[in-house]
């Protein structure tokens, strides 16, 4: 089987600066045109039947990629299995819903608050539970996801079962209007958030945090023996991952305008985790690909109605059979860092 991950990094390494910039601009230009692919003759096959293509691009596609990247910090970078990631998404969404309907704050002002609250809940969840390992941590996070959903389901301030309606969309920025008629503009905001997250993760990965996470993932006991404050860095990965989920939630609520507890059930956590695993745990581009694939395919095959989930499950099983490490797995390294030395 060809190693797409290595093929990609070899291709990238051979490019010079100008070529790289051109390549990025071309890709970015392509991404900006994606919302119009359904109306452009030759590419109209991408259109999603039943669901609106442009809406589907924002949720689930863009949101899944964004949340996949956030969850990847937790699961892929530091190796902590989080089965309740949807909780952070829900906290972000309800922050937007409650604050935008009860105060005069707009979505852009609420965004940092939503991220902050999601991060804070990451700390509150992490402090007592991150001493647990592996399966135990997975079960506690699963519980956290469920508790969050049940709390919003049974509280008055969250509107209970009915959820919260009439969430205002973000105010316009110059000529860019956010309303039902222009879902592509939400898509661009998601793309921006995705780019920021990728940039942040890449920065962190090459720094002390990244090395600490890598050590913790490979062997937590030894990481402690090497002087890595493991609890602190596990908490960081939880918090940063949670913040990304919170950001996604805030934007989501302002896009769909009505939110209800049913949108934040366990299945979302599992789907996001599936994006990460399907794409390739720990590899940013794998996660992006996994998010796009797992969010888009169910929308594209919506015409199958009842058999849709079956077909989707079958695709997953077959793919994982052929590529158990994901579409673009983390680089398997045997010779490491030599290239860097040659450049020096």
């Amino acid at each position: 089987m060809i190693n797409l991950r290595d093929a990609g990094s070899n291709f990238w390494d051979k490019l010079n600066r100008v070529q790289r910039t051109t390549f990025i601009l071309v890709i970015l230009g392509f991404v900006l045109l994606v919302p119009y692919m359904d109306t452009f003759g030759p590419t109209s096959f991408v259109n999603t039947p039943i669901a609106s293509f442009r809406d589907a691009l924002v949720y689930p596609v863009g949101m899944f990629v964004l949340m996949g990247l956030g969850l990847n910090i937790v699961v892929g970078k530091s190796g902590l299995l989080d089965l309740g990631y949807v909780a952070f998404f829900a906290i972000g969404a309800y922050t937007q819903a409650i604050l935008s309907t009860t105060t005069s704050l707009n979505m852009w002002e609420i965004l940092p608050i939503g991220i902050g609250l999601a991060m804070l809940s990451g700390v509150l969840l992490g402090l007592p539970t991150l001493r647990l390992r592996g399966d135990y941590l997975a079960i506690v996070t699963l519980g956290f996801g469920e508790i969050t959903r049940i709390v919003v389901l049974n509280s008055n301030f969250t509107g209970g079962t009915n959820g919260i309606p009439n969430i205002p969309p973000p105010p316009k920025i110059g000529p860019i209007v956010f309303d039902i008629m222009n879902p592509q503009n939400y898509f661009y905001v998601v793309i921006l958030m995705i780019l920021l997250t990728i940039w942040m993760v890449r920065r962190l990965s090459i720094r002390r945090a990244g090395r600490a996470w890598e050590a913790i993932r490979q062997d937590e006991d030894v990481a402690m023996l090497m002087g890595v404050p493991t609890l602190r860095y596990k908490l960081w990965s939880f918090t940063i991952g949670g913040g990304v989920g919170g950001a996604a939630g805030v934007l989501f609520a302002s896009k769909v305008m009505v939110i209800a507890p049913g949108m934040f059930d366990f299945q979302v956590s599992i789907l996001i985790l599936a994006c990460v695993v399907f794409g390739g745990i720990g590899n940013i581009w794998g996660v992006v690909l996994g998010g796009v694939a797992l969010a888009y395919i169910p929308e594209r095959i919506r015409f199958l109605t009842e058999t849709r989930q079956l077909a989707f499950g079958l695709v997953l099983v077959i793919m994982m059979n052929f590529r158990p490490d994901g579409m673009l797995p983390r680089k398997k390294r045997e010779k490491i860092g030599e290239k860097k030395k040659e450049i020096k």
């Binding site: 002390r208 090395r211 030894v222 402690m224 390294r333 045997e334």
Partner: protein, 242 residues
């Protein structure tokens, strides 16, 4: 920089693994803990480095009680360990493994270089393998890496947990030779846990014999080599004839 363990008790759940051990390691010494499987040797080391909590008793280092201190702070104080089974990060290169060894100290380029040179001098093989993934090294090379990595922290006390485990006889002799070098050339105090009592007693200054969580003997290593009980239990008959 005296490491002193007083009346240490450690539990795994309800099972008491260490039942009141007292051990002293003086600066510049090589002290070895020998004993059979399950005697509590590894648990003692893990408790010193902070991986296992102390139930009662104390661990003091340089007069300071460290028994409640988190593991990473003990590394910063100067206690570092080459763990049982080597604990190499398989997906990191040899160099990255070594760099992690001094994680608690923020990047200082020249210091890093100095420490690397020191480790490469002791283990030239690691320099040849610098960019190879840790998981692809042989057992002996991994043990060298584990010791080298612990040395990167500039430890005052080096804890070695069964460095001879699973190695070929030639490699065992080589590793023990280097352990002596670390002690004499770098002046590092060493606490060595071993099942290979023969080698350990030949290299160490003093030794403790552990049995089911108790210290049953404490003496100069050379005396223990000639002790009839120790010879019968840990060295096998005629083992002294090497």
């Amino acid at each position: 920089m005296r490491l002193e363990i007083k009346d240490l008790h450690v539990f795994y759940g309800k099972i008491e693994a260490i039942k009141g051990i007292s051990v002293v390691v003086n600066p510049g010494e090589i002290v070895t803990l020998i004993g059979a499987n399950g005697a509590g040797k590894t648990t003692t080391l893990k408790t010193i480095s902070g991986l296992r909590p102390v139930a009662s008793g104390s661990i003091t280092f340089d007069g300071q009680d460290i028994s409640k201190m988190p593991a990473h702070d003990r590394v910063a104080l100067g206690i570092s360990q080459a763990p049982e089974g080597r604990g190499i990060f398989p997906g990191m290169s040899v160099l990255e493994n070594l760099e992690i060894g001094k994680y608690f100290r923020k990047d200082r380029k020249h210091e890093m270089k100095e420490d690397l040179e020191k480790v490469y001098h002791l283990f030239p093989r690691l320099k040849e393998r610098a960019f190879q993934a840790g998981g692809t090294l042989s057992g002996g090379e991994q043990q060298m890496l584990a010791i080298g990595r612990a040395l990167m922290a500039r430890p005052k006390v080096l804890l070695l947990d069964e460095p001879s485990m699973g190695l070929a006889p030639m490699m065992i002799a080589n590793i023990f030779k280097i352990i002596t070098e670390i002690n004499t050339e770098l002046g590092t105090t060493i606490l060595l846990v071993e099942q290979n009592a023969q080698q350990a007693l030949q290299r160490a200054h003093r030794a403790y014999v552990l049995e089911t969580g108790h210290v049953v003997k404490e003496a100069k290593a050379s005396d223990l080599l000639n002790d009839p009980d120790v010879r019968a239990a840990y060295l096998g008959t005629g083992a002294g004839a090497h």
